[in-house]
Amino acid sequence: MASHGILDRVAIVGMGCTPFREHWDLSLDDLLVDAAGLAFDSAGVTKDELDAYWFGTSQSAASGISLATPLRLTGKPVTRVENYCATGSEALRQACYAVASGAYDSAMAIGAEKVKDGGYQGLNAFPIPTDGTNRTLTAAAMFSLILPAYAERYGVDEDELRRVVARIAEKNHYNGARNPLAQFRRETSADAICEMPAIAGRLSVFDCAGVADGAAAAIVVRAEDAHRYTDTPLYLKALSLVAGNGGGLIDPDYDFTTLPECAAAATDAYAQAGISDPRAELALAEVHDCFTPTELVLMEDLGFCDPGTAWRDVLDGTFDLDGDLPVNTDGGLKSFGHPVGASGLRMHYEAWIQLRDEAPEERRIDRRGRTKALIHNLGGYPGEMLSFVGIVGTELD
């Protein structure tokens, strides 16, 4: 199987991200106009100068017309993209490949979700007619299966492991408190999270991603054109996507301590980018912390730690803002909020500002000369998942 990647052939030259909030006063169209406008300004372009558009939204709209109308695009190819919670990254992947192919010189990837108009808390799936035998389990419950499985496999006390993942939420709230765009900007302690009532397995509400409206956008161009737009472009080093076949749910050998689709996407991405020691080479990682146990096992599946050891690194602060490899420096899904279609592009936005040293000072990381960031964005559940892993960097290899 070939996966050649498009190392250094496409660059991000502008990005924008709206605040992620319960935007009772903003529509999907408003969010799209705002995010697109920020990205246009960032790159110094107008909407007519871009050749093509990819619009990622999970459930808030259908078809490219839903972007072309609010932006009043004229005569542009606009494609709507959907790939569960990895929708935003998928929009970017499609835009990058279109530019790399030579079909277009420039494109926008924009993702948005308007989740708070539904009248219910949480995210709710669009109903597709079925025979009625599908699982009705929530995502929180599916991901809660990780904790007892991990505790058993690696001999970690279940109460201690519960504290470990609460520590992940504490870290992400700490980072989010220093991010004006984030939904939740209050610090919270692991102790307080452990005291909260369980909603799924041992997970509390504070182990779950925030549910917010929001939008984010990126403008990509041919790498050789990047400096016409900015002195500090981000080059696409890797774009990998692996869609699982659902086998994990019916395979008795699957034990819920790993997310194989994520590990496979990471392996592919590292090969595309030529990375051999991610923990030493990456300046930061933005990962899909939809639930706290997800971030725990991702540290192993993305190759930052050996299997069974991530829980120690979490306690040691390895992934803190000042740690060896800062993870979710913007607060992650946990604190920044999770407007499904926007989240993947929001993750890239954090890489955009951190690698360019533009993050707010109180959460700006010390890159120690490292120039690359990893973005991990997944959709689905343990056993039935798709995973995106991308890598961006400020330097040409």
Partner: protein, 470 residues
């Protein structure tokens, strides 16, 4: 020698939940009584209980015997009108399309009549009786009723060993208002009790005498009489004058399960009867039905896997307000989640074997079981290289589980387990009849047919797993 007809097999279902009658008095200040009644869970209806009883009657694996060539389903509380409910039972049992499935509904009497018709008619008929008894709070029907199902496979000695021979019987019919329910109402009304007793007396006398004449038996040749009917006073008083030992009516442990009760009590008697015993089944319902049986030497080896007594012992109390909410008599705030979608009729038909029969597929090359069935295997990639994998009767072990307090359920929380089936196959599946605090990895489970929810008036039937206790 003429062919003898009788009972080839039987099975019962007593739900797991009980309502302590004192709990009614405790909340309402009146009503209730002593003992407890059986309560169908929120995910059960007469159809699903009927499926469980029928599955037991038909047995599984090595214990399976003759198969029915007709299925009759009788209930007073049908899940659907206009549409046949027996077809759901038929699908859950994976019976051949050539086996007709019919509802005999409307009145409690229909179930006893179905049994008589099956015993006197040709062929092997599986008669399934199921009832879900609801009364207004503090009413006698609420306290005295019980939810249960029972199934009997009738046939001849040529079909296999009869567990009990049908000796004969008689019937008496009259039109009078003992109790009634207008279509659409959930509960029944009754006329003054003393009137019914007076009306039933001569009808029982007549049917009893005719049954004895039909069989050539005298009362002292009958070992046990099962006397049942919804008119408690008539059953008590008139039964006493038959001059025969009266069987336990399960009033204190199950309650009166209406249409199901005659079959349930007969099954309960068969669970412990010795060979050669003569049993009278007497049903008072808009007349009188008398059916006489004699147990055979085949009974001891032909009993179902779970006796009525074992099911009575496997129980948990349900709080009275919870019971009321399950029956729709107390409306509680639904979970703040979108209500589930109605299942698609066409998708359900395409996947009937899976949805109703719990039949997955097994990769003929790799042997891997796929739940739900799949055209392409997860290993090897062959297309349409699958065999049917019926899993409804396969036990399993809980590999891991979680308690979901967010997901929509008519009675939260949902307990979900990843179940590894004996001999291969895994599936994440909802548990039922379960205490979230008592589930453990390694627990054994069995599959059970349930109603997941109802949307737009469409009942969404599928399978759940229930813990196997003891």
């Amino acid at each position: 020698m003429t062919e003898t007809r009788g009972i080839l097999a039987y099975g019962t279902h007593v739900p797991y939940h009980r309502l302590d009658r004192a709990a009614i008095t405790g909340v309402m200040g009146s009503g209730g009584g002593r003992g407890c009644r059986a309560v169908a869970s929120f995910d059960q209806d007469t159809t699903t209980m009927g499926v469980e009883a029928a599955r037991q009657a038909l047995g599984t694996g090595a214990s399976s015997g003759p198969t029915p060539d007709a299925l009759w389903f009788s209930t007073v509380a049908p899940a659907y009108l206009d549409k046949t409910n027996a077809t759901t039972v038929h699908a859950a049992l994976q019976l051949d399309a050539a086996v007709p499935a019919l509802d005999l509904g409307g009145a409690v009497r229909s179930a006893a009549g179905a049994l008589r018709a099956a015993l006197t008619g040709p062929g092997r008929t599986l008669v399934v009786a199921s009832d879900l008894r609801v009364g207004l709070p503090t009413s006698a029907d609420e306290a005295d009723g019980g939810d249960a199902a029972a199934a009997i496979l009738t046939g001849s000695s040529a079909d296999g060993p009869l567990l009990a021979d049908y000796l004969g019987g008689a019937s008496a019919t009259a039109e009078f208002l003992d109790r009634w329910r207008t279509p659409g109402d959930a509960t029944s009304s009754t006329w003054e009790e003393r009137f019914g007793e007076q009306a039933y007396g001569p009808l029982l006398d007549r049917a009893w005498a005719a049954a004895l004449a039909d069989t050539g038996l005298a009362a002292d040749g009958i070992d046990t009489a099962i006397v049942t009917g919804l008119h408690g006073r008539a059953v008590r008083r008139l039964g006493g004058r038959l001059g025969v030992a009266i069987a336990d009516d399960l009033a204190d442990t199950v309650g009166n399960s209406g249409a199901a009760h005659p079959t349930l009590l007969l099954a309960h008697t068969l669970d412990t009867a010795d060979a050669g015993q003569v049993v009278a089944l007497v049903v008072l319902a808009d007349g009188a039905e008398v059916l006489l049986f004699q147990t055979t030497g085949a009974l001891a080896a032909g009993r179902p896997s779970r006796s009525v007594a074992a099911q009575i012992a496997d129980r948990v109390d349900v709080a009275y307000p919870t019971y009321l909410s399950w029956r729709g008599l107390l409306e509680v705030e639904p979970p703040n989640r979108p209500a589930p979608n109605r299942p698609s009729a066409s998708a359900s038909l395409r996947r009937s074997e899976w949805k109703y029969g719990f039949v997955g597929s097994r990769d003929a090359t790799t042997g891997i079981t796929h739940l739900p069935p799949s055209r392409v295997g997860i290993d090897g990639g062959a297309v349409d290289d699958m065999e049917p994998a019926p899993m409804a009767d396969t036990g399993g072990t809980i590999a891991t589980f979680t308690v979901d307090r967010l997901a929509y359920s008519p009675s939260p929380p949902i307990v979900f387990a990843v179940v590894d089936f004996d001999g291969g196959g895994r599936m994440p599946v909802e548990l039922t009849d379960v205490d979230p605090a008592e589930v453990a990895v390694g627990d054994r489970v069995a599959m059970t047919f349930r109603r997941l929810h109802t949307a737009d008036g469409i009942h969404n039937y599928f399978w759940k797993a229930r813990p196997v206790r003891g």
